[in-house]
Amino acid sequence: MGLIDMRGQIKDKLYYYFAEKNWGVRREYGPYVDAHREEHAEHPWKHRWMLVKLNWHYRVLRRDNMMISKPPEGKVTEKKQRLPYLEGSESSLSNRSSPIHLVKNRLLSFDVISFDIFDTLILRPFSKPTDLFMIVGKRLNKVEFYRIRTDAERRAREEAMQKKGTREITIYDIYRIIEQRTGIPAELGLQTEFETELDYCFANPYMKKVYRLLQEQGKTIVITSDMYLPKEMMEKLLHKNGFSGYDKLYVSCDYGCSKSNGSLYQYVKNDYPGKTIIHVGDNMNSDIKCAAAAGVESEHYRNCHEIGNPYRADGMSAFVESSYSGIVNTYLHNSDKVFSPLYEYGFIYGGLYVLGFCNWIHKRVKQEGIDKILFLSRDGYIYQKVFNMMFDDVPNEYFLWSRIANTKYTVKKNREDFLRRIVYYRALAPFKITAKSLLQSINLLGLIPYLKEYQLNEKTLLIPETVKLFDQLFIEHWDEVCEAFEPEKDYIRNYIRDKVGNASKVAVIDVGWLGSGPVGLKYLIEEELQLNCQVYCMQAAARPPIHTDIAPELMDSTIEPYIFSEMFNRNHFDVHANTNKGQNNIFFEFFSQATYPSYGGMNADGSFIFDYPEVENYKAIQEIQSGIIDFCSQYIHFFHKDFFALCISGYDAYCPYRMIIRDLSFIKKYFSDYTFARNVSGDTENQRIETIRELLDQAGV
């Protein structure tokens, strides 16, 4: 009576040995076969030869680099500028299986599962673990602490090597040296560092699920870590992050040996004789290679920062670069979750700037004793949302405003602005509008009877050749133009009074670029309405069409930009103004759109006017805003205890965006169909709007 096909068993054993046992072969062969299933069926010998080559590469030559797969894009070289991930969702790079599949397909068959701690079970919001020392130094009120601390550790390890023949040390050893060299009491120093670790270490959500799934299955869990924090401290750290119920905790400083020399694994093996053990960790050397050398199976959990760092913005200040990268890397790459490209656009490239801007606004408001903030629509929508997430001590309002509204209601002061925006810019737009459409868009149908005088009629197109005629029409009927807006202006005045209230100082917030919105409101509040209220104009950045446009206003801080102007952070200004054929304003404004149309002013009966709803964009806008809000939530959550961490300079805030505009492939790929009403409130007859693709084509980008 025959039973099992023995050939099957032998085949399984051979497959395990050649394709699964070695971490490197396993890392590459499985995914390669999955990606070339048909070839695997039709040309099995080709894949077997690949397997031989992989075994040669990893087992014989003992290489670490991947043999089949290409290295990640964006690898920093001396000469090549760093680029973001342009192919789509950066979070897809993690390529992790779900927690359930990891447990089911890999870990469940083992008796004992060992976990590494840092960057496996526990994450920190820094791109390098040592960057935490900047916070420790701040808390100890000691400048240069980062250098002192890293230096002390180095010295301690050297001393230990000389005295004990091992580089294993404890945190006490490190702070003994720090006390000697700085006078900071060791107990104070190490307590401060440990408390900082407690504040900033957080449970890896992905590994937490894996951990809990294994607990549910009654598996034996141990924790094995190379660390200078002794067991009692590590227990506290683990407990605080919800990791309990493990059988044993092995910390290198307690055992005097480490994973990285393989000896710590022997203790684990000795404690669980006859049991199958697998170790899960992120460090290729200590968690994978050394485990293998010690005869312990391993599972590589790719380090979040190793995945994400090649795509992080460079050139930022030390702390912000680390905290920003730490947040982005750990959030996007800890699990199998893949976020949408639009969400990531907000999270990676917009969140830091909005957060920094809001913090800067708050700081300025407090410095100047400002009573109230008016966030101008529509960009102010996201600013107000994030501001109110961060602060609750400054009254603020969302103020419906727009370039068109500003043009209409400051028309007495800004005739040139009116003629330029309403006539000249529209004449240059790709969609040509008729005279009737033009007049209708600004509630000036009363001027239709005068068209004949200027050789115009309702159907005459507004084109460069007819600009002068339209200009003349408006100039020569200027009083009527101003008069036409008066009924609306009554409502506008009441609206402004209502919003300003009793404030003696208000800050008006906008994205940029010329500052006409805030400055226009400043004029209305201070001069026309004389509300006895001082207006501060604050915006994300200043980039007027011509450098001289607002130079005096920037110099005397009538307009205050956060990120750049011609006068500060000049290199950012130059990049923004001079690359991508000057279209960078548009991509920047993707961060601060809203899911309703642009405000167009008021009708004579006080009802609001809105422009065409760009409904095609709403879903995209929601995703981008979700990304921004989630980034801000994460950053605030982690860094709220150390106030300085929120003081993000305008320079740093712009760096992520500067990176994404180095190559427009991402923007072209995901925003091509994004509609853009450049001819705002213009084409009332046909309601045409452009797409970003058309815009870029025209600009020759």
């Binding site: 009576m1 025959g2 099992i4 359930i100 469940l108 607990q215 549910e216 709803p613």
Partner: protein, 514 residues
């Protein structure tokens, strides 16, 4: 000689039982997954003369001819078998039978699935490998036994859908009944192979919940699966003595989600439950596990939802509110596009004076509450139907629109005036305590819309008090009281959203036509 082809544990159990019902010797053709699951495979020699292990996915990487050659090589001449029982015909062996035109007995994938082939088909459509093959599987009748070579079909008749009519080719096979009919010695041999725990005691009046491994099957995410069971427990089970038997492939940490529940972690076919528990549960519950079909009739009460609930479960709060409205105004409920099974199950939890649920539109004299949802799933004609219904709504009736798809199915620009007779009811969700690790619910308000031409009825409906604590989900569900200003704002928000939705629909339609 009889041949049994099996892929899953359920198939293996069925084949083992069948082998005891035939005098002829038999051969077991099993997938490699069986071998992986049961290292004690050698014990099967008590039941089968020979056990052959094969690669069940072989066909999906090889040509039909290679597939035939593979099975000929593994099994020998298939024609020598007097009978071939094939479970898992959607795998390689099913293709061989079809290509060789061999008569066989089609055995249903799991109890009740012969009349519900779409359940298996939908799972396979999502599988990374089978998603490329499900159409071919369907063509060869692998899901419903419609192959011309399936001369008979083996199934549990009791477990089939109500519309199922067994014909002469049906062989009734109830695993539990057959196990009961076996001798104690034979039954014990079968049980011993699977080695379930014995003598499990459970409290009196227990509810036994059989879970499904939704996230493993990629039907939903891990978090969604956890939330689904939290909602099911809070709304439908809410019992003190909850016993959970997870599906063998379901690794969810139920003991951490339901602290008071008893978890039966050991893996064994649920058909063994009547034989291994010291005392039986009062009620057996499931969302959509097919395991329940075999257990029907063996327990006092059976609670089940349906596969539609796998996508509808986030709407449970809205359905609950709609039924509370119906209860308050004392009318029965007619479901139009809405999940009738969900409505029925919720209705049963409401205590006294519960509304009756139906899908049959009553005659014009009968007032009722129309529960409307998901009518545009198969096209815009559903929208027209709803608009017509609202126009012709009987006096004393009302309609509650769940709006799960955010399609505002009653909205048409030409009939904007319908909004004049609509009132929103806003459901507020508050976290019961600072959000724990297993908090998966959304705290965003939800809105349902009530339509009635009768202003008094509308007022009564929108003032229905909704107040439900959901301890496992971690929220308190209440209706948010709206003053007239808030109500107007909510309505305008709804109109705006509906208009944007329609606008987007026309924009997309225009793009497609271009």
């Amino acid at each position: 000689m009889v041949l049994y082809h099996v892929v899953s544990s359920y198939h293996l159990l069925s084949a083992m039982i069948c082998s005891q019902l035939h005098e002829e010797k038999s051969v077991l053709l099993c997938s490699e997954w069986i071998v992986q699951k049961f290292p004690q495979i050698e014990e099967l020699h008590h039941f089968f003369q020979k056990v052959i292990c094969i690669d069940s996915n072989y066909r999906f990487f090889h040509s039909p001819d290679n597939n035939i050659a593979y099975f000929n090589n593994a099994v020998g001449d298939l024609k020598r078998f007097s009978k071939i029982y094939s479970w898992g015909s959607q795998f390689s062996f099913g293709f061989v039978l079809n290509d060789l035109k061999l008569p066989y007995i089609f055995c249903e994938e799991a109890a009740g699935l012969l009349s519900r082939p779409e359940i298996l088909m939908n799972i396979e459509k999502k599988d990374s490998l089978k998603s490329k093959w499900w159409e071919l599987c369907q063509e060869i009748g692998a899901y419903n036994g419609s192959s011309p070579y399936a001369i008979q079909k083996l199934c549990n008749v009791k477990a089939q859908a109500d519309s199922f009519i067994p014909d002469k080719d049906i062989i009734n096979f109830d695993v539990i009944a057959e196990l009961k009919a076996l001798s104690a010695e034979t039954r014990e041999k079968i049980l011993s192979f699977f080695n379930p725990p014995r003598g499990i005691s459970i409290p009196d009046k227990s509810t036994l919940l059989l879970t499904q491994h939704f996230s493993n099957l990629l039907v939903m995410s891990f978090e969604e699966q956890a939330l689904l069971y939290q909602i099911v427990e809070d709304y439908f089970l809410a019992c003190e003595n909850l016993i959970i038997k997870p599906h063998p492939d379901d690794l969810m940490y139920y003991s951490q989600l339901f602290l008071k529940a008893q978890i039966i972690r050991e893996r064994f076919p649920s058909e063994f439950l009547p034989f291994i528990l010291n005392n039986q549960p009062y009620r057996v519950a499931t969302v959509s596990s097919t395991a329940i079909y075999n257990l029907r009739g063996h327990y006092q009460e059976v609670f089940e939802l349906d596969t539609r609930y796998e996508s509808d479960f986030p709407m449970t709060h809205r359905y609950y509110a709609a039924l509370k409205i119906a209860q308050r105004i004392g009318l029965d409920v007619v479901c139009l596009g809405a999940n009738e099974v969900l409505a029925c199950r919720l209705s049963e939890t409401l205590g006294e004076d519960v509304p009756q649920i139906t899908t049959e539109i009553p005659d014009s004299n009968s007032a009722c509450v129309y529960l409307i949802d998901n009518v545009t799933a198969s096209g815009e004609s559903g929208r027209a139907d709803v608009v017509n219904l609202l126009h012709s709504l009987q006096a004393g009736s009302c309609a509650v629109m769940v709006n799960s798809q955010d399609d505002y199915c009653w909205y048409n620009y030409e009939e904007k005036y319908l909004w004049n007779d609509i009132a929103p009811l806003v459901l507020k969700k508050t976290a019961l305590k600072s959000q724990s690790e297993d908090f998966y619910a959304s705290l965003e308000d939800e809105t349902i819309y009530i339509y009635s031409k009768d202003k008094e009825l509308l007022k009564m409906a929108k003032e229905t008090a909704i107040n439900k604590e959901l301890p496992h989900t971690g929220i308190m569900l209440e209706n948010r009281p709206l003053d007239s200003r808030d109500e107007k704002i909510k309505m305008l928000e709804g109109i705006l959203a509906a208009t944007e939705n329609r606008l987007l629909y026309y924009i997309e339609k225009e793009k497609q036509e271009k």
